[in-house]
Amino acid sequence: MTSAPATTASDAIPKVRLDLLPILLPVAIAAVAYPLVGNLTTWLTLTIAALAMGMMIFVIASGLTLVFGLMDVLNFGHGAFIAIGAYLAMTVLIPLSGWTQADSLALNLLALLLAVVVAAIGTGLLGWAFERVIVKPVYGQHLKQILVTMGGLIVAEQLIHVIWGGDQKPMTLPTALRGAFTIGDFALEKFRLLAVAVGLAVFAGMMIVLNRTRLGLLIRAGVENSEMVEALGYRIRRLFVGVFMAGSALAGLGGVLWALYRETLTASIGGDVMVLVFIVIIVGGLGSVGGCFLGAILVAMTANYVAFLAPKVALASNILLMVAVLMWRPQGLYPVAKR
C-alpha cells in the first residue's frame, strides 16, 4: 500500500520482472543426470520418457491446480476421473479392435480419438455431477472437503469394480503406435512422441485460452481474487463449475494416455498418479498452470533418472525434490498472487 512519491512514481517505467530461474531447473537436472547416466543413448531415452510422462501428469494436474486456485477447493477425488476416463476409453476401444489392429495410422488414430472424446465428455459430465453432489455442499470447509472428496474417490473406485469388474485389464496400443522410430542406436518410442504432442497441445491451448480470451482473463482474475470478480458483476460459481468440468475432462484424457502408457488398467490406476500430481502442483505453486507444467517436467525427470540410477528410491527422490523446492520457495516455483 505504500507508494513512492507521486512525481517519480508516475514517471518511472516499472520493471517487469521475468522470473526465469525455475525454467533452468529441468535443464540443470538433465545436465547433472547426464554424467551419472554416462551413456548418451540411455540419457536421451530417459529424457524423452520423462518428457512424455511429464506431459501426461501435466494434463491430469492442470485442471486440479486451477480448480484449487479458483475456489480453494482441493479435490482428492480427482484420481477417480483418471480411472473412469481410462475405463471409458477401453470400453470404446474394445468394439473398435478392428480399427486399432488395422495396419493404418489413420484408422488407429481415429479409434483413439473417438475413445478420447468419449472419455473426456464422460468424465466432464461426471465432473459436473461430482461438483454438485460432493463438492458444493462443503464449500469453504477445508476439512470436510478433503474428507468428502476422498469419500467420493472410494465410492467411485468401488463403482468401477461393479461396472467393469475388478480384474486388471489389458490396454493395448493401436498397431501404428507400437514400437519405435530408430535413429542410429537411439529408439524413439512412438507413443511417447504422441504423449508429448498431446501434452504440448493441451498446454498451448490452455495458454491461449488463459491469455487471449475473456474467459481466460476471468479465470486468472478469479484465481487471484474471486471476490473482486464477483464485485465486477461476474458469477464465479458458474465459472468454477465450468473449470471443474474441464479439469475433470482433462483428467479423463490424461487417464487414457496413462493407461495406454502402462498398457494395463486397474481401478486404482488414479491413486498411483495422484501422488505425483500432488507433488507437481505443490512444486509448481497451487493455482499456477505454468508452474504445474514446469513442475510436471521436473517431477517426471527426477522420477525417470532416479528410476534408472537407483530404482528403489524413485518416489522418495520426488519427495526430496519437493522438500528442496519448498525450502527455496515455500509457495512453490510460481506462486500465484493471492489477495
Binding site: A6, I13, R220, E224, E227, M228, A231
Partner: protein, 240 residues
C-alpha cells in the same frame, strides 16, 4: 435534499460470531458525494461490503434505486449498477492494466472515448496500459481500481479509503478527478482524511460502534468545530 438512491434501514451484519453493524440507518441521495466518516473499527468497510452483498445483512433492509437488495448476491448487485473500489484496491496483479479494464467493462470492449476521459484524470493508466498491474505503484493501483469502477457508467460507486497511504501530490490529483466524477455519478466515499473528505463531500454520515451517529451536510460539519471534535475526536488529526 434530492431523492434517495440508496437507503439502509436498521441494518445488522454479523461476521462469524462478531456483531459488526448494529442497526445502520443511512441515506445516500442521488448525485454528489456522500462521505462516511468514523474511527477505525466503526463499521465503515463492513457497511460498504454489506451494500455490495459481500456480507449478508442479518436484519434490516437495503434499498437501491427502488429495489430491495439486502439478500441479493454480489454479481446481481454489481449488474444493477453499483461499482466497488475496496480498501485493498484488489487490482488483478497478474493481469495487465488493459486486461483489468477489459474485465471491468461488462458490455464489451472499453469505449475509446470513455477511456480518453479516464486517461485525462489518470495519465499513468495510458502509460502503463500494457504492464501487469502488479508492478504499478500504490497510487497507480488506486487509480486503476477507480478507473475500473468508472469504465462504464454506473449509478453508484462505493469507494473505500482511496487516499490511504498515498502521497499528497497524488491526493491532489485525485481530488480533481473526483470533482469531475461526481457530476456524472453518485459516490459513497469512506474516508479517514478529513481534508480530502471536506473538499469533496456534499453529504456526510459519521459512524461509531456499528451505527450512524450523525447525518448532515458536509458544509455543516466543516463549519462546526465543536461538532467535529465531539464526533470525530482527535483521531482526525492523526490522519491529516
Amino acid at each position: 435534499m434530492a431523492e434517495a438512491l440508496l437507503t439502509l434501514e436498521g441494518v445488522h451484519t454479523h461476521i462469524g460470531e462478531y456483531h459488526i453493524l448494529q442497526g445502520v440507518d443511512l441515506v445516500v441521495p442521488r448525485g454528489g458525494i456522500t462521505v462516511l466518516l468514523g474511527r477505525n473499527g466503526a463499521g465503515k468497510t463492513t457497511t460498504l461490503r454489506t451494500i455490495m452483498g459481500l456480507w449478508k445483512p442479518s436484519r434490516g433492509t437495503v434499498t437501491f434505486d427502488g429495489r430491495a437488495i439486502g439478500g441479493t448476491d454480489t454479481p446481481t448487485i454489481a449488474q444493477g449498477g453499483i461499482a466497488y473500489v475496496p480498501e485493498t484496491m484488489a487490482v488483478f496483479a497478474d493481469l495487465t492494466v488493459e486486461e483489468n479494464m477489459i474485465l471491468a467493462a461488462r458490455q464489451g470492449p472499453p469505449d475509446p472515448a470513455r477511456l480518453d476521459w479516464i486517461f485525462g484524470f489518470f495519465p499513468a493508466m495510458k502509460k502503463f496500459w500494457q504492464y501487469p498491474a502488479g508492478v504499478l505503484s500504490g497510487g497507480q493501483k488506486q487509480m486503476l481500481a477507480i478507473s475500473r469502477a468508472i469504465i462504464e457508467k454506473r449509478t453508484l460507486i462505493l469507494i473505500d479509503e482511496p487516499t490511504k497511504g498515498l502521497a499528497p501530490a497524488i491526493i491532489e490529483s485525485m481530488i480533481g478527478a473526483f470533482a469531475e466524477l461526481k457530476r456524472d455519478t453518485t459516490i459513497l466515499l469512506v474516508e479517514q482524511n478529513f481534508r480530502f473528505a471536506a473538499s469533496l463531500g456534499d453529504q456526510v454520515a459519521v459512524m461509531d460502534d456499528g451505527r450512524v451517529v450523525h447525518r448532515g451536510t458536509m458544509a455543516g460539519l466543516s463549519g462546526d468545530e465543536t461538532l467535529q471534535t465531539r464526533l470525530l475526536g482527535l483521531s482526525l488529526d492523526a490522519h491529516q
